[in-house]
C-alpha cells in the first residue's frame, strides 16, 4: 500500500493555552515495499505523523460532526489535505477505520508496557480476536500465534502459557511486536522500536525488522532519532524538524547534508563525520555511509594514492 500525505497539519488542544502545532503542512509519499525511516529531534512531530497512518489521530474532515468551513472572503483557500493509505482515504468520513487498522500495524514506543493478558498466547491473540469477523477456533488462533512468535524469534511451546510479565525486557518487546504483526498487516509502523535497548538488543531488533520486511509486511516505517539506525537500515528517510518535513532522501544522499542535520540537533553517523573530515583534507570518499562500504572505499583510496601517506589511513 502506498502512503500519500499532502498538506497535512495537526494541532493538539487547538484554541487553548496548551495549543501545540505538531504538524505543519506535511507532504510525504511512502512507496509500497519501502523500509522507510522517519527521523527528527524529540518533539518534531514524528509520532504525531505516524499516528495518523492508522487513524488513531483523525483529520477533522473524517469526523462525524465535521462541517466544511466556508473560506473567508479575500483569503486564498488552503490547499486541500490529502491522506491516503492504499485505497483508504483518511480524509473521508465513510472510511472503515477498523479495516485500516488491520492493514496498518502500529507498534508504539515501549510496546512492552501494553502487555496485559495472563498468558503470552492470549496477549498475542488479542488483536487477532478483535479484528476477525467470525469467531476463530483455538487451533486457528494457536497456529497464527505460533507463526507470529516464531517470526519474532520466540518459541511458542515454551512461552505460550507463561505470563508476559515474567519475561525479560527484550522478550517482552518481541511478544508485543508479535501481538501487532499477528494479523499480518501490509504496512508495519514502529515508533522508536529500539528505544531503551542495549546495542546488542538494538541490532537484534533491527535484524528482526528486516526479516519482517522480507517475509511478513510489505512496507515497514520506522521512527527514530538515531541516525545510525536509519542509515544502516532504510531505503529512504524523511527528516522532520519542528513539525515540517525538511527533506526526503536515501540515507546516502542524506548524509551529504551532514552540517544541516547537525544544525537540526541530529547526530550524523560516524562515517559521515569522517567523510566530512576527509573532505576538509581534500579527500573525496563517495560511499553509502555504511561502515563496511566506508572502510572498503577508504582502503581503495589508500591503495591508489600511496604517496599521500594513505598507508596509515
Amino acid at each position: 500500500m502506498r502512503i500519500v500525505a499532502e498538506h497535512l497539519s495537526y494541532t493538539y488542544n487547538a484554541k487553548s493555552p496548551f495549543e501545540t502545532a505538531a504538524l505543519k503542512d506535511v507532504s510525504l509519499t511512502i512507496e509500497e515495499g519501502e523500509f522507510f525511516g522517519i527521523i527528527g529531534h524529540t518533539g518534531s512531530g514524528k509520532s504525531t505523523f505516524v499516528q495518523h497512518l492508522n487513524g488513531l489521530l483523525r483529520l477533522p474532515s473524517s469526523m462525524k460532526k465535521y462541517r466544511p468551513k466556508k473560506p473567508k472572503k479575500g483569503q486564498a483557500p488552503l490547499p486541500a489535505t490529502v491522506l491516503k493509505v492504499g485505497d483508504f482515504d483518511l480524509t473521508d468520513k465513510k472510511t472503515n477505520f477498523r479495516a485500516l487498522r488491520r492493514s496498518v500495524g502500529m507498534v508504539f514506543q515501549y510496546p512492552e508496557y501494553q502487555l496485559f493478558a495472563e498468558t503470552v498466547r492470549d496477549d498475542v491473540a488479542f488483536g487477532l480476536k478483535n479484528f476477525s469477523e467470525e469467531k476463530l477456533t483455538d487451533e486457528e488462533l494457536d497456529s497464527a500465534v505460533r507463526a507470529a512468535l516464531e517470526v519474532v524469534g520466540l518459541d511458542f511451546d515454551e512461552l505460550k502459557d507463561k505470563s508476559p510479565f515474567e519475561l525479560s525486557g527484550g522478550q517482552k518487546r518481541r511478544v508485543a511486536i508479535a501481538g501487532v504483526i499477528v494479523t499480518r498487516p501490509e504496512v508495519l509502523v514502529l515508533d522508536e522500536p529500539a528505544a531503551g535497548l542495549d546495542p546488542l538488543g538494538k541490532r537484534e531488533i533491527m535484524e528482526l525488522l528486516h526479516r519482517l520486511h522480507r517475509e511478513w509486511c510489505k512496507t515497514v516505517v520506522i521512527v527514530s532519532h538515531d541516525m545510525d539506525e536509519i542509515s544502516e537500515n532504510c531505503t529512504r528517510a524523511a527528516v522532520f524538524a519542528d513539525g515540517r518535513v525538511e527533506c526526503v532522501l536515501p540515507p546516502r544522499e542524506l548524509f551529504r547534508h551532514a552540517q544541516r542535520l547537525t544544525e537540526l540537533g541530529l547526530d550524523v553517523p560516524l562515517t559521515a563525520k569522517l567523510c566530512a573530515l576527509l573532505q576538509e583534507r581534500g579527500i573525496e570518499i563517495d560511499c553509502d555511509f555504511t561502515v563496511q562500504d566506508f572502510c572498503a572505499k577508504v582502503l581503495d583510496y589508500a591503495r591508489s594514492h600511496p604517496k599521500q601517506g594513505g598507508g596509515r589511513a
Binding site: 493538539y12 500495524g105 502500529m106 508504539f108 510496546p111 508496557y113 501494553q114 496485559f116 501487532v180
Partner: protein
C-alpha cells in the same frame, strides 16, 4: 500537562492567579458559607455577581467555566427534579399519589440548583487558578495548627501534591495505552455495559502496572536525595500576603456580611 480536563490548572497570568493560595482556600470556604447563608434571591444574586467578577478577574474564558458545570448537569437536574416532586408545600399545582408539585417546591429546587452550580464553579475556579504545588503549600500552611495534635501535616500535604501531580501523567498514560490497544483492534465504544467494562481490562492492567512502577521510581528518587520528611525543611517559595490578598479578603468579608444582612433585612422574594 497536555491534557486539558476539568479542574486542571489554566495557565494565564491574572489577579486571581497571583493571590496567595491560603487566601484563595479561605475565600472559597467563606464563599461556600455565603452560598448557604443566602436564603433569598438577593443573596444568591450577590454571590453570583461576586463569582462573575472573579471569573473576569481570573481571565478564564466563560466556555471553560461552563464546561465545569456541564460535568454536573445531570446531578443538578436530578436533585432538582426530585425536590420538585417530593418537597410538599402549600400552593399545590399538581398532585398524583406521593408526587406533588408546589410553588414552594419549585422555588426550593431552583435555589438548590443555583447553589450547586455556584459551588461547582467556584471550586473549579480554585483549581483553574492555582497550581497543584501552591495549592498543597496553602493547605499545608493552613493546617499547621493541627501539628500540635501530632497529625503528620507535611506528609499529608506531600501525598496530596504527588496525587495532584500524577493526574495529568496518568491521563497521558491512559491515552497512550488506549491508543496502543485501539491499534490492535480494541473497541471501547460499542456493546453493552458488560462488554464495555470488559474492554477496559487491556487498559487498566498496564495502567496499574505503570502506576506502581512510577511510584517505586519516585520512592527511589526521593530516597536517593535523602528525603526524610517535614522536619527542618525550608520552602523554596515562601507564601506572602500582598495588597491583592487584602482586596480579595475585603471582597470575601463584604460578601458574607452582605448576605447575612440581606437575610435579616430583606425578607421577600423567598
Amino acid at each position: 500537562m497536555k491534557d486539558v480536563s476539568f479542574g486542571q490548572f489554566y495557565p494565564v497570568d491574572s489577579f486571581v492567579h497571583r493571590l496567595d493560595p491560603r487566601l484563595k482556600i479561605l475565600f472559597l470556604i467563606a464563599y461556600i458559607v455565603a452560598i448557604f447563608l443566602a436564603t433569598n434571591f438577593y443573596g444568591l444574586a450577590a454571590c453570583a455577581a461576586v463569582l462573575l467578577l472573579t471569573v473576569v478577574a481570573a481571565h478564564i474564558p466563560l466556555g471553560k467555566v461552563l464546561r465545569a458545570v456541564r460535568g454536573v448537569t445531570f446531578l443538578v437536574l436530578f436533585t432538582a427534579a426530585l425536590n420538585v416532586l417530593f418537597y410538599g408545600g402549600e400552593t399545590v399545582y399538581w398532585e398524583w399519589g406521593i408526587f406533588c408539585v408546589s410553588f414552594e417546591g419549585i422555588i426550593f429546587s431552583v435555589f438548590l440548583a443555583l447553589r450547586l452550580v455556584l459551588l461547582v464553579v467556584c471550586s473549579s475556579l480554585l483549581t483553574y487558578t492555582t497550581t497543584p504545588v501552591s495549592l498543597t503549600d496553602g493547605v499545608e500552611s493552613l493546617l499547621t495548627p493541627l501539628k500540635w495534635i501530632r497529625l503528620p501535616i507535611h506528609e499529608l500535604a506531600l501525598v496530596m501534591s504527588i496525587a495532584l501531580r500524577f493526574i495529568p501523567i496518568l491521563t497521558d498514560e491512559t491515552q497512550r495505552i488506549r491508543n496502543a490497544q485501539m491499534a490492535r483492534g480494541a473497541d471501547f465504544e460499542s456493546g453493552g455495559i458488560i462488554k464495555k467494562v470488559k474492554a477496559t481490562i487491556p487498559i487498566l492492567v498496564p495502567l496499574l502496572l505503570s502506576a506502581f512502577r512510577r511510584a517505586d521510581e519516585l520512592g527511589d528518587a526521593m530516597d536517593a536525595r535523602c528525603y526524610t520528611g517535614g522536619k527542618h525543611r525550608t520552602k523554596y517559595k515562601k507564601l506572602r500576603f500582598t495588597w491583592r490578598d487584602a482586596v480579595a479578603f475585603l471582597v470575601g468579608a463584604a460578601l458574607v456580611t452582605g448576605v447575612v444582612l440581606m437575610r435579616i433585612y430583606l425578607s421577600a422574594p423567598y
